[in-house]
């Protein structure tokens, strides 16, 4: 599986060569298999962290700072303790110490635990806090202005980071030599994760040992975090995440609130559940940073992209990491330069959010490419095709870079040949247009992933692995791979996940889960199965290697009649089960995906409202494990991309830096009637093994929609979200002289 993104860096560990079963032999893999936890979820039986109730459990609640920039002068929690039902109240800021400062709205100041949620709420409101309110920075413009107060220790703006390719390239000269230049400022907004289950957990002490049920996408990272924050042995911390309601990159540890829950639980001597409110969720649990780019890009008369020069900035609030790379590395510009600065404002720090940096970079780049095509009067698809990376030495595109194949496929599906060359000139206010964009993602996995498989004497099979299912279908994948390996139906296998006591598996981030767990589970299952074969072989008078597990039987490969049922085979174990471990090996998974998306939109030029009518997507993800859940990932990515394109926007009041829409009413999320027809083509690449798919489909949706709007209206919107205000402004500008 040596591709450019996954070279054979280390020799494979010794042991049998590991493979996936031949495609023709697969009973489950690659098929559309229903999620095994569907019945529990659809009946409301699945217990999420939010749902768990422990005996004697108290409800925790934070007192969050209403001020985005302030110093806590005093905290008095005693009034909270007088509220009936309150069992603990703690201050979380030390007015006399270095943590007295509040950097962003929603920062935790104090917390309480009480017998009811109502009492906890009354109690936090009884706490008396004195703040010295300081002038907060609400926008990048404010932070960057010369006379702004310097709110951050190393200044409001980071040092500039320069990227220049090739080294010592003369970007100005390349631009000057270009036949056409596009120059403009582009931007994307701050998006919040808005996981439906807010962050939080339940902490229960048993002496010095802590059990924590946490809504997390990383049970092992959560164990690490809790043990360090509470200064305990890692072995004394047990983290459980049976079901969790979405994370999208924001739930990679216990977070402050679960540490606080543990402290409250200790103080109160009872288990404490602390789940954030929706408002706190918007304010403090991360976001996708904004992006701004002043771009100058060129193309030669033949349609070869020549140069891309960008000054960029963005804000991840009170945290660093607002970087994004343009041009987005799909199209080959001759030379490129990017000068980037992070800008700090008094708002909740950013966190990884579904393809960090990518949707921003993709939007800016793909819009610039479209504008260059407009200058050339060239079909933007044609310009893209001409500037894809060169094929490899064998004349083939890399398996991770299949855009040359996917663009025409998707164009055909959406009917690109019907696209207006310029704006829709039909009568009536509704204009129709199409646009496209490409994406890429690496995926991969962790070679430290481990799993443990048991085959029980009654025929049961348990696969334990310390991964977690964040809605992607991980539990189903673990069961499928195990069942496939054992030749058993899915129902015969128990997939035990979401527990830090199970063998180590990585946090579910970076679309690496499938690449980490699939090989590991396969190997653990094979090891267990082979141990069973060793037990069974003597009674069949064959070598273990002659056996296969298929259709619920253990039988001789060349003579299927010779064998026994799985249960009969397991009975030979006596009373002691088989236990086998699995360690990740290279060769069963890989990294690198590519895809394209096309959007067909209607724009009402009298209201500026865009309705996405259709999205066509072609995406690869290596070997498809479960076709249904894989497709669902793509649907979900596109829909989140529609939210990013049109609706979602964290809006801070420019004068106070307080968020004005920390709810689900004015933080707009797409609903059923906002969803277009979505046409997905998943490209199966079985020879590559699985590659993660959570992130790539969300990258290019906004760019495709923005380009479609320009195609429909002839007016170019260079900022997200594509609100009626933005579209009408672009139309107005176009009428009075042009947006280009």
């Amino acid at each position: 599986m040596a591709d450019e993104q996954n070279p054979p860096a280390a020799p494979p560990p010794s042991g049998p060569a590991r493979t996936w079963p031949p495609v023709a032999d697969r009973a489950l893999l690659g098929k559309p298999i229903r999620r095994i936890d569907g019945p529990d979820k659809s009946q409301g039986k699945a217990k999420y962290t939010y749902d768990i109730v422990r005996p004697g459990m108290l409800y925790g609640r934070l007192l969050s700072s209403p001020h985005p920039y302030a110093v806590v002068k005093s905290i008095d929690v005693t009034p909270a303790l007088k509220v009936p039902g309150v069992k603990a109240a703690i201050a979380l800021k030390d007015p006399a110490g270095p943590t007295a400062k509040i950097w962003y709205q929603g920062e935790e100041v104090a917390a309480v635990a009480a017998t009811t949620e109502e009492a906890a709420e009354d109690a936090v409101r009884a706490i008396k806090v004195e703040y010295e309110i300081l002038p907060a920075l609400a926008t990048v413009e404010q932070s960057m202005s010369a006379n702004a107060p310097v709110n951050f220790p190393k200044g409001n703006v980071s040092a500039e980071r320069l990227t220049l390719r090739p080294d010592k390239a003369d970007v100005e000269a390349a631009l000057k030599a270009s036949a056409h230049i596009v120059e403009g400022t582009y931007s994307t907004q701050v998006q919040t994760h808005t996981s439906l289950e807010t962050h939080g957990g339940i902490c229960e002490w048993n002496g010095e040992k802590l059990t924590a049920w946490v809504s997390t996408q990383a049970v092992h990272a959560t164990r690490d975090g809790l043990s360090r924050a509470l200064q305990m042995q890692q072995s004394d911390v047990h983290v459980i995440t049976d079901y969790m309601g979405g994370g999208f990159g924001s739930k990679l540890g216990p977070d402050v609130q679960v540490v606080i829950a543990a402290k409250l639980a200790k103080e109160a001597g009872a288990p404490v559940k602390l789940m954030l409110t929706r408002k706190e969720e918007h304010l403090i649990t991360g976001n996708r940073p904004s992006a701004y780019a002043k771009v100058k890009a060129g193309v030669d008369a033949q349609g070869k992209l020549t140069a891309f020069d960008a000054e960029t900035w963005g804000t991840g609030g009170a945290g660093q990491g607002a970087g994004f790379n343009i041009p987005y590395p799909v199209y080959a510009f001759g030379v490129l330069r990017q000068r980037h600065k992070d800008v700090f404002i008094n708002a909740g720090p950013q966190r990884a959010m579904r393809a960090p940096g990518h949707p921003q970079a993709c939007f800016i780049t793909e819009v610039v490419v479209d504008e260059l095509a407009d200058r050339l009067r060239m079909d933007p698809l044609e310009l893209r095709m001409r500037n894809l990376p060169p094929a490899g030495p064998d004349g083939q595109d890399l398996p991770t870079q299949q855009w040359r194949k996917y663009f025409p496929m998707a164009a055909d599906k959406i009917g690109w040949s019907r696209r207006h060359a310029t704006a829709d000139t039909g009568s009536g206010p509704i204009k129709r247009g199409m646009g496209c964009a490409a994406n890429r993602w690496a995926g991969g996995g962790s070679n430290r992933t481990r799993a443990a498989c048991e085959i029980l004497p009654d025929g049961g099979v348990v696969m334990r692995i310390g991964t977690q299912d964040i809605g992607t279908g991980t539990r189903t994948l673990v069961a499928m791979i195990t069942a496939e390996t054992m030749g058993l139906p899915l129902t015969a296998v128990k997939a035990a996940i979401g527990d830090s006591e199970y063998p180590w598996a990585p946090g579910s981030g970076g679309s690496t889960t499938v690449g980490s767990i699939s090989p590991t589970v396969r190997i653990a299952a094979e090891n267990a199965r082979d141990a069973l074969f060793a037990k069974v072989a003597p009674s069949l008078r064959v070598e273990p290697a002659a056996l296969v597990a298929k259709d619920g039987r253990v039988q001789v490969k060349d003579n299927p009649a010779k064998g026994m049922t799985w249960k009969e085979a397991c009975r030979l174990l006596g009373v002691q089960p088989i236990s086998a471990d699995g360690a990740w090996q290279q060769g069963l998974s890989s990294s690198g995906t590519s895809g394209v998306q096309f959007a067909d939109v209607e724009v009402d030029i009298e209201t500026g409202i865009t309705r996405v009518k259709r999205v066509v997507c072609v995406q690869d993800c290596g070997m498809i494990v479960d076709r249904i859940t894989a497709e669902s990932q793509v649907y979900g990515g596109i829909i989140m991309g529609i939210g990013f394109a049109l609706f979602e926007h964290r809006i801070l009041d420019r004068n106070t830096a307080k968020m004005v829409n920390p709810n689900m009413e004015f933080y707009l999320l797409p609903g059923m009637s906002d969803i277009p027809e979505i046409d997905i083509t998943l490209i199966d690449q079985p020879e590559r093994g699985p590659v993660g798919l959570g992130e790539p489909p969300t990258i290019s949706t906004a760019a495709a929609i923005a380009n479609a709007i320009a195609n429909a209206t002839g007016a170019r919107v260079r900022s997200l979200p594509l609100t009626p205000a933005a579209v009408l402004a672009a139309l107005h500008e176009e009428r009075s002289g042009g947006t280009r």
Binding site: K41, N663, M664, M672
Partner: protein, 203 residues
Amino acid sequence: MAPRKKDQPGFSRRTFLKTVGAGGVAAGVLGPKAAEGQAVKAVGPGAVPIQLNINGKVHRLEVEPRVTLLDAVRNRLNITGVKRVCDRGACGACTMIVDGETVYACSTLAIEMQGKMIRTVEGLAEGTVLHPVQQAFCEHDGLMCGFCTPGFVTATVALLEKNSKPTKEQARRALDGNICRCGTYARVLEAALDPKASGVRRG
């Protein structure tokens, strides 16, 4: 919609009825001064014993008037299929069916739900047999992380009980009150439009 009974079950008048002002309950047309001296029966703000009929079973509990139906059901009765997500009537994760109509349980007071037939996602399956809508959600993968699923299932059941053959547009409109962050809408819609989902079962 049937008018509600004046005296709802569950109020323990002896313990919790407070009479403010003088005089009894006057009858007759409201005249200029009729309101004066009117008896006002107030309960709370402390806990009040109430009864809720949920999925055909009557539960007795004590809650303050400020407790929502959602919180009463989740925190007092440990019926946790319905979720709290936005807590402001904007996402549908708390959808229940009350007297045949979907409601946002987060924006409904428990005390007002006495005497009503409340159905939650837990009341849909019959034993181990899934409700056809639940079955359709599983078959079409109309669920991912699953946190919105109980609300969506409930809203879909309410739709199909009124209109067993909705058009695509009708189904969309009926489900517009629910938000899914994972983005399973396409599959939820498939499930709602699956003829099998509208089955025959009626609550």
